[in-house]
């Protein structure tokens, strides 16, 4: 039975691996109340199901071993019936324990929260529109593909879909919740650890389902406040000649049909809001890291990096391309 | 070469047909009634699943007009009388009665299909206007499909009764056909309440 050995070995190696090198998108590296509650369920499951599995296989192995050499194994039917009864009762009991644990932890996921950060995430093929809601409209702002949350404060996220069904999944914070046309779902998460994490669309949503990631940042209270304040400001006005040319091109050309940059004439609502593009860390919903080079190649031919994305390759003169890139890189 | 056999009985005296659960025709009919019944149940389920998604039911239209639907229901229920009669006659191997009855049932079916056509004109909603219209049309179409098939069956059986040798096996087919017509009629009565009266009670 070296195989089961191998399997458990693999399992151990695997968990070691994942705790070692992936803490940004692992369900077993929880940093929020909700995800920790879920890991409690996981632990109990492992401790009950693992031994049960071994028990069954040992019983099977023994049944074969004791009858080796064709010796007839004996046990009266009556004993067997008692055994069956006992086994059934045991199974039922363990399942009851698991159901109870599952129910208790599920309650935590839906516990009401006080004074949450209110965010509305709208999923679109294939990116996330992130709106920070506020009683005071002037304090609301919109960004994309990057979610900032303060540590030790619950966040209440409204989930909307603009086209097909998507599913918001940030494993380190909470389980997933679907974004469904015509349905208003919400999910709450209470981060407990500052850091940068990763979320991803978990419901198959078409050609670029694979490249629909969400960059998640848990900031300390001060950092979050600063970030918010900055995001509320309109876009920086370009100073260098190339950036100025770039802005003029941007607003005059196809770009402005889809993208908005607050404080300019560009008011498109089809694509991501670029007001503070340069302050983000990833491009095209996580498809690329964000720096001047990647941004330029992205604008040059989006279909090469994200085949099927709705952003077209706008024909540009080399000069225009570099101007626009310069301008966008000033939008921090 | 199979193993040694010991003869313990003889079957040659058994009948070569039967009515009910010792005839395969009966099992076939039951099976397909179960399948189609399940289809109706789920479609009705979908109807009531969609209902709460609208503030009013029907959303903007007025409910289906009662005239044709009610007329259809009346005729359908009335048709149970000849239907039960033909089933009884079939069990008595009364060929003339069965011949006459099958023709009658076929005609009834044709008349009902005519009435059904009128019903579709009086639903007051198109299938592509909203989900309400879609599900109403779906329920009606589903039932019409099954009614049309059974009418066709009766027609074919009738033709066989007039043109071909009609043995006991065929009589039991007639009985099964009558059983299927019960299903058509009573499943409709349920659908009638759903399609015509739910909107009025909502």
């Amino acid at each position: 039975m070296s195989l089961r050995g191998l399997r458990w070995g693999l399992a151990a190696a695997g968990s070691a691996l994942l705790s070692a090198c992936n803490t940004v998108q692992s369900a077993l590296a929880p940093v929020a109340d909700e995800s920790r509650a879920i890991v409690r369920v996981w632990d109990l499951m492992l401790w009950i199901c693992g031994p049960m599995y071994l028990l069954v296989l040992l019983a099977l192995g023994y049944a074969l071993w004791r009858n080796r050499g064709n010796g007839h194994g004996r046990a009266s039917e009556r004993t067997l019936w008692f055994g069956l009864l006992g086994f059934t009762v045991l199974t039922a009991g363990l399942l009851t324990v698991l159901t109870a644990q599952s129910y208790v932890q599920d309650r935590r996921l839906h516990a009401p929260v006080s004074d949450p950060v209110n965010v509305r995430i709208t999923a679109k093929q294939w990116w996330w529109q992130v709106e920070y809601l506020d009683a005071d409209p002037s304090k609301q702002f919109t960004t994309a593909n990057e979610l900032h949350l303060p540590v030790d404060r619950p966040a209440r996220i409204e989930l909307r879909s603009a086209d097909v069904i998507h599913s918001l999944w940030i494993p380190v914070l909470n389980g997933k919740e679907d974004l469904i046309p015509g349905h208003a779902n919400t999910i709450t998460m209470t981060p407990r650890k500052v850091g940068r994490y990763r979320g991803q669309c978990a419901e198959f949503c078409g050609l670029q389902h694979a490249n629909m990631a969400l960059d998640v940042r848990i900031d300390d209270a001060a950092g979050f406040a600063a970030w918010q304040a900055h995001q509320r400001t309109p876009a920086a006005t370009p100073t260098t000649p190339s950036a100025i040319a770039g802005r003029n091109d941007f607003t005059a050309m196809a770009c402005a049909m889809c993208h908005a940059i607050d404080g300019t004439d560009a008011g498109g609502v089809v694509g991501p809001n670029l007001t503070h593009l340069a302050s983000r860390h990833r491009l095209a919903a996580g498809a690329l890291p964000l720096d001047r080079g990647t941004l330029e190649t992205w604008i040059l031919d989006p279909q090469r990096h994200k085949p099927g994305t709705n952003m077209p390759a706008v024909p540009l003169q080399p000069q225009q391309l570099s101007d626009i890139t310069d301008y966008l890189m000033t939008l921090n | 070469m199979s193993r040694a056999e010991s003869v313990v009985g003889d079957l040659s005296e058994l009948p070569d047909y039967n009515f009910g659960s010792t005839s395969l025709g009966w099992w076939g009919t039951i099976g397909f009634m179960l399948i189609e019944g399940m289809g109706f149940v789920l479609a009705i389920g979908a109807y009531y699943y969609l209902l709460p998604y609208e503030s009013a039911w029907p959303p903007e239209q007025s409910p289906p007009s009662l005239l044709w639907g009610t007329l259809f229901t009346a005729v359908a229920i009335a048709s149970e009388i000849p239907n039960a009669w033909i089933k009884r006659r079939a069990k008595n191997y009364d060929l003339p009665a069965v011949r006459f009855g099958l023709v009658l049932m076929t005609l009834v079916g044709v008349v009902l299909l005519g009435l059904r056509a009128m019903e579709f004109t009086a639903l007051n909603v198109r299938w592509d206007q909203n989900a309400y219209g879609s599900i109403v049309w779906a329920l009606m179409a589903l039932h019409t499909l099954h009614m049309a098939t059974d009418t066709f069956d009766s027609g074919v059986l009738g033709a066989i009764a007039w043109l071909k040798k009609f043995d006991g096996r065929k009589f039991s087919d007639v009985a099964d056909n009558a059983m299927y017509w019960h299903f058509i009629v009573w499943s409709w009565v349920v659908l009638y309440v759903v399609v015509y009266w739910t909107p009025r009670w909502m």
Binding site: V270, Q303 | D128
Partner: protein
């Protein structure tokens, strides 16, 4: 051993089909992300339907056919039609400030290349020129969708009802209305 027959039958079928596939291919279904061949010649559609002598016709831009036969491009066109707010003037094709697009009336030609030109070049009395505001491919996709609005589309490529509030009937059920008025647009694109 008849049990081997079906597998052989299936295999044979698959092979023949593969050949068919190689020969035919399925223009209708291709998802083209990278921008396809764009038209070089801009057809100058006349501003008047009147013309001395016999009706003079310019050939259809083959690029147009390419877009017109592709379900994916037509669907993308429908998306752009909403995103670029064509509804603002053309009211879901029913017409408002701008002319209706669901009828057989075409002032500047109902051929796809003519519509493509109308979008990019603009037309008198209000239709702005979108050249530079959208890519050539997007214009072609829009043009293909606009033709579908009046049923001028192969039925197996036409989009059906769309998600959301229903403004137009499903284009699969719009009766085909070949362009009537307008100049050489009377000659419609032959459906392959």
């Amino acid at each position: 051993m008849s049990s081997r027959f079906p597998s052989e039958v299936a295999r044979a079928a698959v092979i023949t089909i593969a050949l068919v596939a190689v020969l035919a291919g399925c223009e209708r279904e291709r998802r083209e992300y990278h921008s396809s061949p764009t038209s070089t010649a801009q057809p100058h559609s006349r501003l008047s339907g009147l013309q001395p002598g016999d009706m003079l016709t310019t050939p259809v831009d083959p690029v147009g056919l390419h877009y017109e036969n592709n379900a994916y491009h037509i669907a993308q066109g429908g998306r752009l039609f909403r995103w670029f707010n064509c509804n603002g003037c053309h009211g879901n094709g029913g017409g408002a400030i701008g002319p209706a697009l669901m009828d057989a009336q075409w002032r500047y030609g109902g051929r796809i290349d003519q519509i493509h030109a109308s979008i990019l070049e603009g037309r008198p009395n209000g239709m702005p020129s979108w050249r530079g505001k959208m890519t050539d491919q997007e214009a072609w996709q829009l043009a293909a969708y606009v033709r579908a609005l009046s049923g001028n589309v192969r039925k197996d490529a036409a989009p059906s009802r769309r998600e959301g509030m229903e403004a137009t009937p499903p284009l699969t059920r719009v009766p085909s209305q070949p362009p009537r008025a307008g100049d050489d647009s009377a000659q419609t694109v032959p459906a392959p």
